[in-house]
């Protein structure tokens, strides 16, 4: 009985599919144009510029691999790589642990919306404002942070003016700003873990700590992997906090890659070399992201 009605269906589907394609292309078009104009074109042009010597005002001159040769021999570049890596390790390490703890507390302890909003509040403050506020709080002479240290009986610390403290301090300021956002992402991941798992574990007499390490962490792995990839990329691109608080100093202690690129481009107008530095950063990020993806197996889940 179904046979007579069957033939018209494919025609309808065919025509429907054709219409869909056109409509889909139309919808994709604006985003594609944006991607091409504001992303791929600058990327290609940036890579081209890295093979030139260009000061913005006179035409770019092709110099082959000169910029890259100079870069490999540039101690400030290698220092910038080292400083940036140090920043990323401190920033991401601290941030992930703090965010994970906050997210788990939000899920297991209190689900208050008010608390969730409060945790997210620092993220609403702009980077520059957060940096300025901490610059005041941690000022060697006038900062309330150093006053507190003195009252406790400790020595004052030049948080932004001491070579050993500059990077850890900047990393911590950004942890403060980003932890709520990261916690929220992880919190969303926690919601995907079926509550039945915890019930079963509780019936078996597992402690809260054991449940965290045996259920939460393993099942959260894909989400955590994704969060890590996103936040590591963001972390490598640190700029504003450094520009506001130390401007790369003392000496080169906080001259992160982005700041060095900016310095070369907009203070010394050496756009060719700055582009080469940017390409180096791109390569570093590609490698780091690739390994992160492989190690965390972010594409797979253990829930099935």
């Amino acid at each position: 009985m179904a046979a007579p009605t069957a033939p018209p269906v494919p025609t309808v589907r065919r025509s429907g599919r054709r219409d869909d394609t056109r409509l889909a292309l139309l919808f994709i078009l604006p985003a594609s144009i944006g991607l091409l104009v504001f992303y791929f074109w600058p990327l290609v042009r940036g890579i081209w510029l890295s093979f030139t010597s260009w000061d913005l005002l006179s035409p770019a001159q092709f110099v082959g691999l000169d910029n890259y040769r100079e870069m490999v021999a540039d101690p400030v570049f290698w220092n910038a790589v080292r400083v940036t890596l140090l920043y990323v390790v401190i920033n991401i390490g601290l941030q992930t642990v703090v965010a994970l703890v906050i997210a788990v507390l939000m899920q297991r302890l209190s689900r208050s919306t008010l608390l969730r909003s409060l945790v997210l509040a620092p993220y609403l403050v702009s980077n520059v404002v957060a940096a300025l506020v901490f610059l005041w709080i941690l000022d060697y002479q006038l900062g309330i942070g150093n006053q507190l240290l003195e009252w406790v009986g400790l020595d004052r610390i030049g948080f932004f003016t001491d070579e050993t403290w500059a990077i850890p301090t900047i990393a911590a300021v950004n942890v403060w700003r980003h932890m709520g956002y990261t916690a929220l992402l992880i919190f969303a991941g926690l919601q995907t873990i079926p509550p039945t798992m915890y019930e079963a574990a509780r019936v078996d007499g597992a402690s809260e700590l054991r449940m965290f390490f045996r259920i939460t962490v393993p099942l959260l792995r894909p989400i955590l992997g994704l969060v890590l990839i996103i936040s590591v990329i963001g972390s490598f691109q640190v700029f504003d906090t450094v520009a506001v608080t130390t401007n790369g100093g003392p000496v080169d202690a906080s001259r992160v890659l982005q700041l060095y690129i900016y310095d070369k481009a907009f203070a010394q107008f050496d756009f060719g070399y700055a582009s080469a530095l940017s390409v180096a950063m791109l390569l570093i990020l590609v490698v780091v992201t690739f390994f992160q993806y492989r190690v965390t197996r972010a594409g797979q889940t253990d829930l099935n």
Partner: protein, 452 residues
């Protein structure tokens, strides 16, 4: 957009229309733009000087009804980025305030007009300016790339109350001497003005150099390549010079023991407790705040800071000459700003008329009367000295340096940006105490390599 380039002689109707469109699209919000007139864009960075230059512009417009001047002011750091971006976009100002560290690069890239090639400025007599200032703006090709507008020198600022509390009189700060070995009477004064947490002075028994309440000398950072207000007056007083020539030198002299000893003495004050450590001041030192809050007793700074120091609350401001060094007299850096004409200007001849007026006695007197900076022409300088005197400030220590020729030029060389990028962190490192001054010899080779 170069369709409206024209000379004053050939003011044809068609071109006037072109200019009109230009003036119209450039200044839709400017109600003062009369028909057939040319609007000139003028940029400067010092907000304190804006009112005086606005008065100059008003006077200029009155004399030249066919010209309008539109002034824009941007903070110093943004100024250069904005200017470069404007050059790239071809939308820069016609005339702008220029700095010695920046103009060599601009001139090299053909972005500045040689004032000698324009009608209004071709016959300016540069001998009428304060000695030496116009020479700083002569490019390597012999072109005049700036009309001198003002100059500055360095002196010591102090709070008379603090000096008297220490049992000294303002006269005791006059005629001090200094040398890089033992610091002379200048170091003795600094020591005496330094007070530790227990009230013990720097030259007394039991002084605790690690817990200082008042530093003798306010820190103004490490100073970078020029050390304008930090160390150039010390090194200069030993007879040292930055480069092999007054302008356009091709060799820096950071390998000279005289500059190295001067730096060692200055940053050695940190260990003695007479100056704040780098840790306290960081990369953005604020010596006027240190003086105002009583954290430091003496602050060396430039004449352009006069207004700021005079306005410090609760400070009875005194100004003393820099100490004289081994050469037998004090030496200050002598720096001057100038007005340059952009090569991209659509109306260079009109711009030259404005620049000629900026460099005239009329305008420089107006600027002088505002009492902010010392204008480059003697008539303007006198007006400024009078204006400061009316506020109770004797500024002769600044002008004496120029009259006596006890000055050192700001280093004008190629590649200053790249040199600064190398030297600035190194000076910071020396201030921090992590680097020996003798390593400057090898740094000197590196920066001279950039100039070859």
């Amino acid at each position: 957009m170069n369709h409206a380039r024209r000379t004053t002689a050939t003011l044809t109707a068609a071109l006037t229309a072109g200019t009109l469109v230009l003036a119209g699209c450039a200044s839709p919000a400017d109600p003062g733009a009369a028909e057939g007139s040319v609007t000139l864009d003028y940029w400067l960075w010092d907000a304190n000087q804006l009112p005086a230059y606005q008065r100059c512009a008003d006077a200029f417009e009155e004399e030249n009804p066919d010209l309008q001047v539109r002034i824009s002011q941007y903070g110093y750091d943004d100024y250069w980025r904005k200017l470069t971006a404007a050059f790239v976009a071809g939308a820069g100002p016609d005339v702008f305030t220029d700095h010695l560290t920046q103009y060599p690069g601009f001139a090299q890239k053909g972005l500045l007009r040689d004032l000698n090639t324009l009608d209004a400025t071709a016959d300016v007599d540069y001998g009428e300016f304060q000695e030496g200032l116009p020479d700083l703006w002569v490019g390597q090709d012999g072109g005049q790339y700036g009309m001198p507008k003002d100059f500055d020198t360095v002196a010591l600022f102090y709070d008379t109350n603090v000096i008297e509390e220490a049992g000294l009189r303002p006269e005791d700060l006059e005629g001090l001497d200094w040398d890089p070995q033992d610091g002379g009477s200048f170091e003795k004064v600094l020591a005496h003005l330094t007070v530790d947490e227990n009230g013990v002075r720097g030259d007394e028994e039991g002084f605790d150099a690690d817990n200082v309440a008042v530093y003798g000398l306010a820190s103004n950072g490490a100073g970078g390549t020029a050390g304008q207000t930090t160390w150039s007056w010390l090194a200069g007083a030993t007879g040292w010079k930055f480069t092999d020539k007054d302008v356009w030198g091709t060799e820096y002299h950071f390998d000279d023991p005289r500059v190295q000893d001067s730096l060692e003495w200055l940053f050695g004050l940190v260990e003695k407790g007479y100056m704040a450590p780098f840790e306290e001041v960081g990369t953005e030192p604020n010596p006027q705040q240190a003086l105002g809050s009583g954290r430091a007793a003496i602050s060396a700074n430039g004449s352009w800071m006069l207004g700021t120091y005079a306005n410090l609350e609760g400070v009875d401001l005194g100004i003393a000459s820099l100490p004289s060094g081994p050469v037998g007299h004090p030496v200050s850096m002598y720096n001057g700003l100038a007005d340059s004409i952009s090569a991209q200007s659509e109306d260079p001849e009109e711009a030259a008329r404005w620049v000629e007026f900026l460099g005239s006695d009329d305008c420089q007197r107006i600027v002088g009367e505002a009492g902010v900076v010392f204008p480059a022409r003697p008539a303007g300088t006198e007006a400024a000295v009078e204006a400061f005197a009316e506020r109770g400030l004797d500024v002769s220590v600044f002008t004496d340096l120029v009259e006596d020729g006890n000055t050192l030029y700001f280093p004008v060389t190629d590649s200053f940006g790249s040199i600064e990028a190398i030297v600035q962190p190194i000076m910071d490192e020396i201030y921090i105490g992590d680097r020996d001054v003798s390593t400057l010899t090898e740094v000197n080779d590196r920066i001279n390599g950039l100039l070859r």
